[in-house]
Symmetry: C2
């Protein structure tokens, strides 16, 4: 019997293939929002995209079953929409320990645009929610977002290296308070976005109600908790 | 001379093609995060994806040039990552006037997952940032996010119709305060996420610094403002 906190071996071949597909999809997405191709060419590409989608649809997991590569015991979630290596939506954010908590460097392309030339304000909140949660995890804690608050002091330019930082400010029972910032990597002390989050671990009966039917790919019950639902925090 | 607030005619053929491609890419993304295909099949799909990306890359707009279909004068931004009809990242959120402000109904699939079976907490903030901004626009105002704050009272299940609402709470010079909520469409009075945002229109000199080099597809200077940078609010 393997205790649930022992990491399962990774299927390295599958991980490499999922990583490649994620990267290729991100390029396709970026090209799709910047292309100057005309309608007939777009329709041809749409056919290629549909063929690719059909090829993937031959077998799909149900929503209650975690992806094969996911392992809550080592915080690995490959399709997390912020940090998942396989998620086409994710930049992806590679989160590391350091700066007294966790940090990530990322450059966001035109797919993430809000005002012309700048990152969508809501994208900053999406990324910071993930990073704040990762700071809690790095401190051995886990919770679901109960409160999230951001102050925007200046816009974040697209296609420019950004530095995101987060650290635990307070631990109180099931509650963790985390603060974080976004700055240009080239000017890390000039804060452009200030974030603060309160994450709360669900009570056992809440957890049972929320995650009672969640299984891993082998069919074993696999609710999030401590360890958790989020993607790996990389060693420093 | 056409005054800048007169909508430009839409290239309906191009819009239809962009709409189709966006929809196909969303299906591909959803299939990519749920597929049980093995590595060799994933590599074959990756090749198809790369071919599609290459076909789109033959001509691309620079970051300072708005997409051909965008028209700030009628709030149309086709690649907005929340509401853009052509954005593969966007659900997309279709925002309408009503409920004393604006609202949207949306169901979010597994690509938007945070905790197993539920919408990523940061996704709620991303969507609400857009909706709060749209409420300001629907009231004839525009601004960039200065403050965003959310209280999460319960998780949002995936693949379930959600109702998002937002309305202007206060107008004060360049500043607009907007409040909003998320609930299940089937239980609209039980608020699961409470949001509040402060949006501020940049001063003319800030706007010139931020958007001085932005042009539309014809090369005409096209900074956001009143009218604005965001996607259309549909009539009720």
């Amino acid at each position: 019997m393997t205790p649930p906190t022992t990491p399962r071996p990774v299927d390295a071949d599958l991980l490499a293939a999922v990583t490649d597909l994620g990267a290729a999809l991100r390029v396709l997405i970026e090209n799709s929002v910047t292309t100057l191709a005309e309608a007939p060419e777009l329709y041809r590409v749409t056919e290629q995209v549909r063929a690719a989608a059909d090829a993937l649809a031959v077998a799909r997991r149900p929503l209650t079953q975690l992806p094969r590569l996911d392992d809550p015991a080592v915080f690995r979630r490959v399709y997390n929409p912020v940090s998942g290596i396989g998620s086409p939506l994710a930049p992806p954010l590679v989160i590391r320990r350091g700066h007294g908590g966790v940090f990530a460097e990322v450059s966001l392309g035109p797919a993430y645009e809000g005002p012309p030339g700048y990152v969508h304000g809501g994208m900053s909140s999406l990324l910071m929610d993930q990073l704040l949660g990762a700071a809690a995890m790095a401190a051995g804690r886990w919770g679901m977002t109960a409160h999230l608050e951001l102050d925007y002091r200046g816009p974040l330019p697209l296609a420019t290296p950004l530095l995101l930082r987060a650290e635990v400010a307070e631990e109180k029972g099931r509650k963790t308070v985390i603060s974080g910032t976004v700055a240009l990597a080239a000017a890390p002390e000039r804060v452009l976005v200030d974030a603060r989050g309160v994450f709360v671990a669900p009570r056992p009966e809440q957890s049972a109600a929320y995650f009672g039917s969640v299984t891993d790919a082998s069919g074993r019950h696999a609710p999030p908790g401590n360890p958790t639902d989020a993607t790996a925090v990389q060693p420093e």
